[in-house]
Subunit: 209 residues, 2 copies
DNA sequence: CCTTGTAATGAATGGCGATTCAGTCCGCCG
DNA sequence: CGGCGGACTGAATCGCCATTCATTACAAGG
């Protein structure tokens, strides 16, 4: 059934044949990495979870490191696309930040494995696999910063707060929330915390009425 | 010269003989881990940097993992002790948070290697080496939370912001700042950012005048 | 029903590096 | 001075696992 696509050449050059299998491996990898961490994960574990032979993985990915890269890239792209779409409908900077925060927490809250990978492996990669994942993060920061500047121009946010600092506080607060949630019993919905956090950060940035 | 201490039995049972050597190994480990990350670091690298034979390390530490634990523990203890001392002199909750933030950034800003270990390896350990380092983090959070509650009782902070959320924002903002700094060119003093960050967070928590 | 090309398999390989341990060195005591 | 005890050394070991590749399975076309 997955033969259908074989005619067109629309596959990523470096990735095997069946997109379905490619995706299954990626999904398995995220779960395995989340469970054990990148370095404690064995390719054979990923293969087993994806119901594929060890060697097959190398038809789809160059090596172990590239699997991690692909997983992060995949998730990040998904997130940024969703952000793009959802924010397109909102004009007010305050509402835009609210929406973004909710999306941030909901995205990670909906997929524990992904969240785990982001809170641990992603940081590693940001430093050691260098510019690749780092740029994705910068794109996110830049988005926040531009919203902040819009709010400042509209007179809603204080101008003496630099957009860089504001973005840092925004991202940091959400990020810490995700980490706490992961380390906790997870008996609450992560997304539910968005409002309270945004409340603090927005209040800290807003001009007094 | 390090023979002097040999008479008393004040050594950590599990750690070799000379405290000076113990410390040198720890210091070397922090630098090596910071440079390459825990998993990409070789014991022999640490040994070389500490000017010690590979085997000697095992006279002072049970295994590689325990070196990381010891390094984190050491740094964290130092930090919490400093916090304890410095905060003892300050009563006002707002000032206490300011001081704590400054200390947080100054401590990590003064030692890039340590900061690196905290931003990357510590998170790993928090999840995978479980309760050990996790507790240290909780201690920090609890400190912040208690300050927040004090501020609420004194009527300085809004009561509708939960202390947990406030601590999250506080820690998260600082933490993100450290990460940015590490990934950036580091052409500014990390400690200098403390005021701007605390400004946002405090304003977000304060009652309106 | 052969032939061929390609995906998939999984056992075997090879290298790496944590850990060990047989030996060395050195200070001290009798 | 000889012998003991313990710190220190670093080369050798040993297990692990990413990666490879000879082999198999299979689809499509003739």
């Amino acid at each position: 059934m997955q033969r259908v696509e074989e005619q067109n050449g629309k596959f990523d050059a470096s990735s095997g044949r069946s997109p379905e299998k490619h995706h299954r491996i990626l999904q398995a990898a995220i779960e395995v990495f989340a469970e054990n961490g990148y370095f404690n994960s064995r390719i054979s574990d990923i293969a087993k979870k994806a119901e594929v032979a060890d060697g097959t993985i190398y038809l789809y990915f160059k090596n172990k490191e590239q699997i991690l890269m692909a997983a992060i890239d995949f998730a990040f792209t998904l997130f940024m696309d969703a952000a793009q779409t959802q924010l397109a409908e909102i004009a007010d900077p305050r509402q835009r930040l609210r929406r973004l925060a909710a999306l941030h927490l909901e995205s990670l809250g909906a997929n524990r494995g992904l969240a785990m990978v982001f809170q641990t492996e992603f940081r590693q990669s940001a430093k050691f696999l260098a510019q690749f994942s780092h740029h994705r993060l910068i794109a996110y920061f830049d988005l926040v910063r531009s919203i902040v500047r819009d709010g400042q121009m509209a007179g809603q946010f204080r101008r003496e707060v630099s957009d860089k600092i504001a973005a840092n506080c925004f991202f940091g607060a959400l990020d810490a929330m995700v980490t706490s949630w992961l380390l906790s019993e997870r008996d609450y919905k992560l997304g539910d915390a968005a409002d309270a956090i945004v409340d603090v950060i927005l209040t800290g940035m807003e001009t007094r009425k």
